[in-house]
């Protein structure tokens, strides 16, 4: 099996990309991550607000949902970091 991969080898050519394309793609990724952070932050804010309202009104169902929302918001950001870390690891592993 190793002979198959030795036969033809590929390596990402970042230097061959025009600088504006490279920066554009990096900015695109940053923007997508920023949107995700915004969505997660919004979710966190709404969930915290919901948690406060739930504690005032003693609404147990709303409290549970708010806790779930907080978990999801934090989990989403964590997943982004884990995903990018996995990509970096896989890149080193397979290159």
């Amino acid at each position: 099996v190793s002979r198959i991969f030795v036969d033809i080898s590929v390596r990402p050519d970042f230097n061959g990309l025009p600088p504006n394309v490279y920066h554009g793609l990096v900015t695109l990724t940053d923007n997508a991550a920023a949107v995700l952070t915004l969505v997660a932050g919004l979710g966190l804010t709404v969930s915290l607000t919901g948690l406060v309202i739930a504690s005032f009104t003693a609404n147990r169902e709303l409290g549970e949902r708010a806790k779930g929302g907080i978990g999801i918001s934090v989990f989403a950001i964590a997943l982004l970091y884990v995903g990018v870390a996995a990509a970096n690891y896989a890149g080193r592993l397979f290159s």
Binding site: S9, V10, P12, D13, Y22, A87
Partner: protein, 327 residues
Amino acid sequence: MGGDDYQAQAAQIVNDVVIAIANWSTAAAVASIQWLVSGLGKASEPDLSVIVPVYDRVLAIALLLLGAIVAVALIDAIATGELRNGLVLVGRVVVACFGAYAGLALIKYVAGYAALLATTWTPDFSQLNNLLVHSVAVSNGVVETGGTGPHVSTFGLIVTAMSVSCLAVMVHLELVVRSALILTVVAFVPLVCVVAIWPRAAGAATTLSEFLLGLFLSKFVVATVVYVGFRLVVVALTSTADTDTTENWMASGLAVLLIAAFSPLVVFSALRFTHHQAGSVARSFAGTAVAIAPPIALTRGLTRLGQGMLRSANKLIDTRLRRRPTV
């Protein structure tokens, strides 16, 4: 006496002409098949090492986009409330990276086996060629001596030579287009692999892999179809007895050869594993080349001209009839 000599000379000339046509047709058929067989081997396989620089560049772009794709997939998961399955995304990222890095090597591996499969019938084609040449030589001997015995049909040889020649040209064109398509599509493998991290875009990877597999296997399918057709024709031509069965073989064989040459889509749509779109794309390029050929445009122009002339004549006759004085 003079009449007999003249008759003998005429018979000799006719025999010579028939033998020459038979030999020429056999040579054309055998040469076409040999050309076709040589094209079905490694020669028509795309050289994937040529596109390594392009692949590297696309791989870099795909890796730069990877973070954005993961973020979009996560936003989608939050919006649809399916973030509990978010951990699957990490696994998808690893698999996508493997596909992006190892895609070219894997495709080269598959291409090697596709080329190998397409040469399955090469020895059989050689045997059939030898059988045809031998039978025609024996038949020529029979005709030269003026004897009566089983002989190869000259008309059958002419039709076979024409259909096999057309087939060889068409199949070569399709193989060139197939090779170009593989080279073009393979360059986008890293990008498609990374985009497939997002579950909604996973279909892109499936479509691409099916398309590539179809392209690779199309050569084997065409080689098999050509072998089936050529075998039927040669067996019918070299048969010692002319019966309804051999006539059916000849007709079926020619039909198969013509299908392989002009309408392989029928075969591709029957064999789903070859992903008939791949075959149709390769086929439509050759079809387009024929469609834009000048004779077609000329025929259309003549048809329009004919319609115009008919319309004018119709008007003229109508006018004359109306002007004719009533009695």
